[in-house]
Assembly symmetry: C2
Homo-oligomer: 348 residues x 2
C-alpha cells in the first residue's frame, strides 16, 4: 500500500508543527504545503522546518492552493488557517470538492453545529456528495473541555452538573497568540476592545458546551460567556510576550450552558503568560456531579500547541476510515497516538 498523502494548508505554528510530527511517522508523507506568508512562499518545506530532507523530494511552499491540491493529489488536507467556520468555509469547500478528506484546526469547526448550523449542513452535504469526510479538532475545543468530559460521563448512571476548568500557560506561544489574548495590553485598552467585540480570547466555549449537551442528551436553552483581563502585579516575561506590572498578562474566560433554566455546564479557562509568578499552577480539571461523581485532574495542563498538533495528525486515519460527511469528535472512535505505521490503521 502506498503512503498516506497529506497536504498542509497554513504553515504557521500549527501547520509547521504538524509537518514536523508527520515527518517522524511511518506510512505517511507530505505531498504539498500551501501558505501565503512572504517569508515562506517559494521555499522548500524542509528548509523552513530546519529538518534534513535526506533523499526525500523537496516540497516547495506555494501560495496558490489550486497548484497544491487537486483531485486525487492527496488523501487528506490539514487546514490550519482560521479560527472561525465562516472564514474557513471557502477553503474547506474547495478541499472537499477536490474529493479530499479534511481535518481543520478552526476552533469553531470542532462543533460547527453550535453557531453555524447552516454552514455545518452545507459542509456535510458537500462532503457526502464528494464521498469524503471533514472533521474539526484540536486540544480545546476537541479534547480537554469537551470530548474528555463526555468520555468520563460514560461511567455515570446520572449527570447533574459539569464543570470543566483549564488553567494554562501562554508562555510557549508566539506573537499571534499574545495579541489574541491581550498579553501586555493596558487594562483600559483590553476593556475597550472587549466592549467593541474585537478581543479574541478563547474561541470554543459555545462549541464545547453544545458538544457535551448533544452527546449526553441535554438541551441547552441559553449560553453565556464572559471575558476578564488577568492583571499582573509583577512584571512577567515569556519568550514572545511581556506584561508589565499593572498590565494584562492574559484572559480569564468563563462560560455557562443553561439547561431547563439552570447552569448545568460551567467552563472556566484562564490563560496567561508565566502563571506561576503569581502562584497560579496550571492544570486541566473536570468535575462532574452525579452518580458516581468523577473528579479528574491533569497537572500540569496538556500543552495547547503540541496537543492540537497531535490531535489533528492522530485523527487522520479515523477521518479516512469514516463514512462521508461532516463528523465531530463525538462520531469517531477515541483519538490515539500513532506509534506504528499509519497505513496499518486504514480499514480495507
Amino acid at each position: 500500500m502506498e503512503n498516506i498523502r497529506v497536504v498542509i494548508w497554513g504553515f504557521g505554528a500549527m501547520g509547521s508543527g504538524m509537518a514536523k510530527m508527520l515527518l517522524q511517522k511511518k506510512g505517511v508523507e507530505i505531498v504539498g504545503v500551501c501558505d501565503r506568508h512572504e517569508t515562506r512562499v517559494g521555499k522548500d518545506m524542509y528548509e523552513v522546518l530546519g529538518v534534513e530532507r535526506g533523499d526525500r523530494k523537496p516540497v516547495i511552499i506555494n501560495s496558490n492552493i489550486e497548484e497544491v491540491l487537486t483531485e486525487g493529489s492527496c488523501d487528506v488536507c490539514l487546514t490550519a488557517t482560521d479560527s472561525f467556520t465562516k472564514a474557513a468555509f471557502p477553503r474547506l469547500k474547495y478541499c472537499l470538492e477536490q474529493k479530499v478528506n479534511v481535518v481543520s484546526t478552526a476552533e469553531e469547526m470542532a462543533y460547527p453545529q453550535a453557531q453555524n448550523p447552516e454552514l455545518a449542513a452545507e459542509l456535510d452535504r458537500i462532503a457526502k456528495e464528494n464521498g469524503v469526510t471533514i472533521l474539526g479538532t484540536g486540544i480545546n475545543p476537541g479534547l480537554i473541555m469537551d470530548l474528555l468530559v463526555v468520555c468520563l460521563t460514560g461511567c455515570m448512571t446520572d449527570v447533574e452538573h459539569i464543570q470543566a476548568k483549564r488553567v494554562n500557560s501562554l508562555s510557549p506561544f508566539g506573537h499571534t497568540v499574545m495579541e489574541e489574548q491581550g498579553v501586555g495590553m493596558k487594562v483600559d485598552e483590553f476593556n475597550r476592545r472587549c466592549e467593541e467585540g474585537t478581543m479574541a480570547g478563547h474561541v470554543g466555549f459555545a462549541e464545547s458546551i453544545q458538544m457535551i449537551a448533544d452527546a449526553i442528551g441535554w438541551r441547552v436553552d441559553k449560553f453565556e460567556q464572559q471575558m476578564k483581563p488577568i492583571v499582573t502585579t509583577v512584571d512577567r516575561k515569556s519568550p514572545h510576550g511581556f506584561a508589565a506590572a499593572g498590565d494584562v498578562a492574559g484572559v480569564n474566560m468563563t462560560g455557562q450552558g443553561y439547561v431547563d433554566g439552570e447552569v448545568k455546564i460551567d467552563m472556566i479557562h484562564p490563560q496567561q503568560i508565566e502563571p506561576e509568578m503569581e502562584g497560579t499552577f496550571t492544570g486541566d480539571y473536570i468535575n462532574i456531579k452525579g452518580t458516581p461523581e468523577v473528579n479528574m485532574s491533569i497537572s500540569p495542563e496538556v500543552e495547547g500547541g503540541l496537543g492540537t498538533i497531535a490531535m489533528c495528525v492522530n485523527m487522520i486515519p479515523h477521518v479516512i476510515n469514516a463514512k462521508a460527511g461532516l463528523k465531530t469528535m463525538l462520531d469517531l472512535p477515541v483519538p490515539r497516538a500513532i506509534m506504528g505505521d499509519m497505513r496499518d490503521l486504514i480499514e480495507k
Copy 2:
C-alpha cells in the same frame, strides 16, 4: 419509534444494577430477565429490585434463556454471567444466533483478541452472519486502565511509557467479590491458592495491555502479571467483608507489557476493603511519558460497580448503531451518559 427492548442475562449485582439504571431512562424497556439463582427464579423483576412496578407489565425472572430471548424478542442482551470469554462463549453465541446485539460484562470480553483470538474470530463471524454486534465493556477493563489511557495518548505526538494505576476500595462489594479477591483469608491460604492458580484477583490486565498496544501501534512481545496479598495490620470491616489484623484485606496486582524487550506498559492495581484504615487513599492515575507528558488523576477512584453498570448501559446505542461483528471500545465512539431519550441516539 418503539422503545429499545433489553433482555438482561444474569441478575446478580451487575445485572440488577443495570436494570435499576434502565428503569430511570427514557425510550428503553426491559422485556426479559434470565437468571438461575433459586431466590430469584419465578419472581417479578420489580419485586426483586424493590422498585414500584406502576403500570408496567411484570417481568418474571426465568432460568431458561430459550423462553426469555428468541429471534426478534429484543434489540440487545446485556449478559452479566461470566468473567472469562471461554465460559461466556456459548451464551454469547446463543444471543447472536437469535440476531440480538450483545453487551457483555465478562472482563476478558473487553478485548478477547488478547487471550482467545480464535473465539474472538468466531464471535466476529457469528455476529456478522447474523447482522448484529457484540461488545465487551465495563469500568476496568473497558475504561479506566485502557480506553482512557488510549484517549489521552490522542494529544501526544510520541509515547514512550505508560503507567496506569487503579487504587480502589472493595468495601462496596458483596460476598462474591470478597471471595474472588481473598478478603479475610489467611496469608498462607492466599499464597497456596496463588500457586494453585485458583485466586481470581483482577481479570483484565492482558486485555487492557493488548488493547492499548494495538490502539497506538506497539507490538507486545511479552506479558507478565503478579499477585500479592495486601496484609492488614489492623482489623478491617466492610459491609460484606472482614479481615482480621495479620490476614488478607485484598489483592495487589501488577502487570507489564513488554515492547522490544522493554517494559512499556505498567499496570498497578491494589484492591482492598477499607484502604483508608491504613492510610491508602483511592484513585485512578494515568502517567504517560512522551511528548507532551500527561499525568492524570481521578480521586477518589471511579466506583467499580456503578461504573461497570453505567458503561454497559451507556454503550447500548453505540452497539445498536455499529456495523455487524465483534467490536471493542477502540472501534466505537466514546462512551457517554444518556440523560435524554435513548431512541434519539439510534441512527436511522
